[in-house]
Amino acid sequence: MANDEGIIYEYVWIVIVSAIVAGMAASLAYYGIALDLNPACNATPIDVGTLTENFQPGVKQLGPGIYQVNILAGQFFWNPNKIVLEDPVRIEFRITSKDVVHGFEIVGTNVNVMVIPGYVAEFVWEPPKNAQGKYLIICHEYCGVGHQFMKAELEIKRTNTLLSGDSINTTGDLGKFSEVKYLEFKGVIVDEG
């Protein structure tokens, strides 16, 4: 059965395949390490029984352009369900669930994080400079019969033209894409101020 005719091509192919895999791995490592672009990885355990005392949903401004946004998810709501931020540069999200697993997605951006009961997800989003207008927030993990009704709205207002950069996208389309190059997920633990 052994047939060595043409087997050299197979070795060539193995080298090509290995090079493809190594190249992909290297590029992912470059983005992860050099550009610090990583998925949300930080979480702090929290007792779901004591959420009302220990977790206050809402938006708090920590400095110019710096916001802390605490969001509580539950069947079938996001609290707060309307978030307005002026000229955000750095948004520190803290999100948890009071019941089952939910999925936090800001449509049209790369913000995509699982919301796991018992844990507060903590991550930082630096929105692209041309992010502006209303964004739809949905739940992307099945959470029960009313899953499809779970939504919220994020509005980014731009007052300072210097901050908003040269290429302002003013379409206001909810489905627009953010520019990945400005996007950053850092697993930063946010201290309660």
Partner: protein, 546 residues
């Protein structure tokens, strides 16, 4: 009743197609109901929570039940004929009883609306205990079958020292090794967490149970597709009448699947908070490695096809392609499933690419991807292989060749339309697993047209599915018992099944130990992180009741 190999295979394989009819119909209903602003006539309109009930059934039936039944059936039929050693009849009977009782029990609970938890059944959402017991029984039943299979293999090995394992058997062994790797963590968490949660209200840590689930969830993928890969390696050279381009490289591919199909589960949890970036990245690298055996397979099979085509008189750069036995539905189906799997596999690399995953995680991109991989392997792969089994196992003539061709054609075209539309809306953020994506009219306008197009794809897929079920079940019920429309597998013919003995490739015990070490290394860190931080259990939430 005495259960021999043939009876076992007949029952499990025929049952798979009954399940396919049910699960496929639900799939069509889902695809139609997800189209925004489309009003459907009464019977087709599926409102919540029925939508999630049939979605659960679609996932469990097509992704868990069919593969278990069909693969064990295929192995029960093929292996005794190739190895010429019988399977243990008592284990076969026990396995069949456990798998049927378990599968039927879980399905009844789902259809009764007592387990609207989808096929991932993430805690703390809880279903009726019958769902978990049924699933556990189904899986333990498959373990009993594997015990019989391994016993048979070892017996063959004792009788045939110094002979290479036939490639079909090698592939099936790899399939079952991967299945044991996959289901062990699932059985652990179902027994330790889910059954106590649903029966006694045990509080469980959700991050921990998710990690156990995906420890299972990705290796499951390779269980689905490895038997089809084994049959590409086995049947394609046979149909062409030439030896496989490189049998040793085929075995290397299976070894890579054994090694790397399980320690990759965190790529389903990239967006889970509470798992460190380093561990997620380690699983990313392992996921890229598990793409290599598929690339080796693609090369090996295409090279075999070229060799076969040239032997049949095909000349020039691409002349060999025209000389393939395309008129044989089994051959056509095997090659079609490989092409579609190649495209679906590439989109899987995008899912697995760490940062890119943030764009597509839990969006419609994901069902676009897995219908091209597992959906294709089951509906094109399993079904066309079953056409060959009609002659060998069921002793029936295929009722209609037209049905077989339409099945392959309609389903493939429908799949391309459906999946491309889902890829597109997924990139634009449309969620998966959601009965209605209108969001009170706030949905981006970019979602609407592709979702309408996806429904056309789904209708074509459904038509192809109807043709497939008709071709198989119709032949079983009404097919002639004499004559052959499609040739069978021609086991043992024309050349002997056994091959050269390569001690390194035949030492599967060593590779299983390596795989176990790799799995432990890949999972000890994330579990250490979860437990050292202190778990955070939460109470169960009843949501399966409708």
């Amino acid at each position: 009743m005495r259960v021999n190999e043939e009876l076992f295979a007949k029952i499990t394989i025929a049952f798979s197609f009954v399940i396919m009819a049910v699960g496929g119909t639900f799939g069509l209903l889902q695809a139609l109901n997800r189209v925004p602003f489309l009003s459907l006539p009464g019977a087709l309109d599926v409102s919540d929570p029925t939508y999630y009930r049939i979605l659960t059934c679609h996932g469990v039936c097509l992704a868990v039940a069919i593969p278990i039944y069909w693969i064990t059936g295929l192995a029960a039929f093929v292996s005794p004929r190739i190895l010429k050693v019988e399977l243990d009849k008592r284990l076969l009977a026990l396995s069949l009883a456990m798998m049927l009782v378990g599968g039927v029990m879980a399905t009844i609970v789902i259809l009764a609306g007592k387990a609207n938890v989808l096929y991932t059944f993430y805690a703390p959402m809880t279903a009726h205990p019958g769902f978990y017991w049924g699933a556990a029984l189904l899986i333990l039943g498959s373990w009993v079958f594997i015990a019989a299979f391994v016993k048979q293999y070892l017996q063959w090995r004792r009788l045939n020292p110094g002979v290479g394992t036939p490639i079909a058997i090698y592939g099936l062994l790899a399939t079952f090794i991967v299945w044991i790797e996959a289901t062990t963590p699932l059985v652990i968490t179902v027994l330790k967490d889910f059954i106590p949660m649903s029966m006694f209200g045990k509080h469980v840590d959700v991050l921990e149970t998710r990690t156990w689930f995906w420890f299972f969830g990705h290796a499951l993928v390779y269980f689905w597709l490895l038997p089809v890969v084994a049959m590409w390696y086995y049947l394609i050279p046979k149909k062409l009448g030439v030896p496989l381009f490189s049998e040793s490289m085929a075995k290397v591919a299976f070894i890579l699947f054994i090694l790397a199909s399980t320690p990759v589960g965190l790529h389903h949890q990239f967006t889970d908070p509470g798992l460190a970036a380093e561990y997620k990245f380690m699983h990313t690298i392992l996921t890229l490695i598990v793409a290599t055996p598929s690339m080796l397979t693609g090369f090996n099979i295409l090279a075999t096809m070229e060799r076969g085509g040239r032997a049949r008189g095909g000349n020039g750069l691409l002349g060999w392609l025209a000389k393939q036995p395309w008129k044989d539905p089994v051959y056509l189906g095997l090659v079609t499933s490989m092409i579609i799997f190649g495209i679906g596999g590439i989109t899987g690399i995008i899912n697995a690419s760490y940062q890119l995953n943030m764009v597509v995680h839990n969006t419609a991109w994901v069902p676009g991807h897995f219908h091209m991989t597992v959906g294709n392997m089951v509906v094109i792969g399993y079904t066309t292989i079953t056409y060959a089994l009609l002659a060998d196992l069921f002793k029936r003539k295929l009722i209609s060749k037209t049905a077989a061709y339409s099945h392959i054609l309609l389903w493939s075209i429908g799949l391309f339309i459906f999946s491309l539309a889902y890829y597109y809306v997924g990139l634009h953020g449309a969620p998966r697993r959601t009965s209605n994506i209108e969001y009170g009219g706030l949905l981006p306008s970019t979602w609407i047209l592709p979702m309408e197009i996806s429904a056309i794809g789904a209708i074509l897929m459904f038509s192809g599915g109807v043709a497939a079920v008709y071709a198989v079940l119709g032949s079983l019920l009404f097919g002639k018992t004499k004559g052959v429309a499609i040739e069978g597998m021609k086991i043992g013919n024309p050349h002997p099944e056994t091959t050269e003995f390569n001690p390194l490739l035949e030492n599967l015990k060593m590779w299983v130990i390596f795989a176990a070490v790799l799995i432990i290394v890949a999972y000890i860190f994330p579990f250490y992180e979860i437990f050292s931080r202190g778990i955070s259990p939460v109470p169960p939430v009843e949501t399966g009741l409708s």
